[in-house]
Amino acid sequence: MPTSPEEMRLVDIAIGLQAELTEANFQREKVQLANMELHNELQDLSDRLRIAEKASETSIQLMEKLLQDISMRNTEISTIHNSRTWRIGSLVLAPVRWVKRSKR
């Protein structure tokens, strides 16, 4: 307990400094909490971005595979078109087509 005005003033200063320290710690904890929340939000966004990137990558791979398949089919079709069997088949089927057309 202070016994003089000067001691009382010093007690106020000490209590004031203690209060300022407590306040600074409180604000620091608040900033830390806000940072943590921000970090979690960032992490969440980053995870979602990674998933979207992965989906896009898979989609590109599928598209490439599809194009490759189409290209292979095209090659196969061209090969069949150019083959002797196809020409003979066309020749054999020509009268049938003519009969069908004449019936309409």
Partner: protein
């Protein structure tokens, strides 16, 4: 204890308004500025129970209260501005009754404007420390719970602030770095840190001629200091509905 600028003789009017309450007071300490007219000093010096304390430094409300507190010999100190008039009777007994509870650290009353409206009904603390109830009609039925009921409050006006002398000394008195504003807010929080509560008792009534005797401007440094010390308590006020 009467603190202010006695030059406008408000202090004599205040003393007169005490009436019979003077009989139950231990002493009335008047902290008088250097420029208080000699005739006021003379008039005060012959009044019963008045103890004069001269203050010759530049205006510092906190320091004046601290200086006066060292002259006080009673168990309970009531700080009163000089620009007040007692409006009710039995207020000394009502203050004493509150301190029967050892958890009560501070007691204040309802301060009214000369027109009868609320000048201060305790303090609110969110979103910043402020005077509660300014300009409200104390007779408004919708506001009875807040304005006319004895209740715990977030803060009390330094214009009418009663507390135990031992508590006052233990918390270091009023902060002299807050010479003009927020010294009462700071004192209230220091008492709360001791585990004490502040009580608003509206049956204790004074008319307050606010800032007639001093500049009402709030200094930036004072605002900064109060936030540095107690900012965490300005986010939420549990005592204001």
């Amino acid at each position: 204890m009467l603190v202010g600028d006695a030059s406008q003789c408000l202090v004599l009017e205040l003393w007169k308004s005490f009436g019979w309450e003077t009989d139950v007071l231990h002493e009335i300490i008047v902290v008088a500025d250097a420029h208080t007219p000699q005739e006021v000093i003379n008039a005060l010096s012959v009044l019963p129970k008045v103890v004069l304390e001269h203050f010759s430094e530049p205006f510092n409300f906190s320091k004046k209260c601290n200086v006066g507190s060292w002259r006080a010999s009673g168990d309970i100190i009531l700080f009163l501005n000089d620009d007040m008039l007692a409006q009710s009777t039995g207020w000394v007994g009502q203050i004493q009754a509150q301190f029967a509870d050892p958890l009560v650290g501070g007691v204040g009353g309802l301060l009214l404007t000369p027109e009868g409206l609320v000048q201060c009904a305790g303090h609110g603390n969110a979103p910043r420390p402020h005077i509660y109830g300014v300009g409200k009609d104390p007779k408004d039925p919708a506001l009875q719970a807040q304005l006319m009921t004895t209740r715990e409050t977030g803060g009390l006006s330094g214009a009418c602030f009663a507390l135990r002398r031992t508590d006052y000394i233990e918390v270091g008195g009023m902060c002299e770095e807050l010479p003009s504003s927020y010294n009462d807010v700071d004192l209230g929080f220091k008492l709360k840190e001791l585990g004490k509560k502040l009580m608003y008792v509206p049956s204790i009534q004074f008319v307050h001629y606010e800032s007639i005797s001093r500049d009402p401007t709030v200094g930036e440094e004072e605002t900064a200091l109060i936030w540095r010390r107690w900012g965490r308590f300005f986010e939420h006020d549990p005592f204001i509905l």
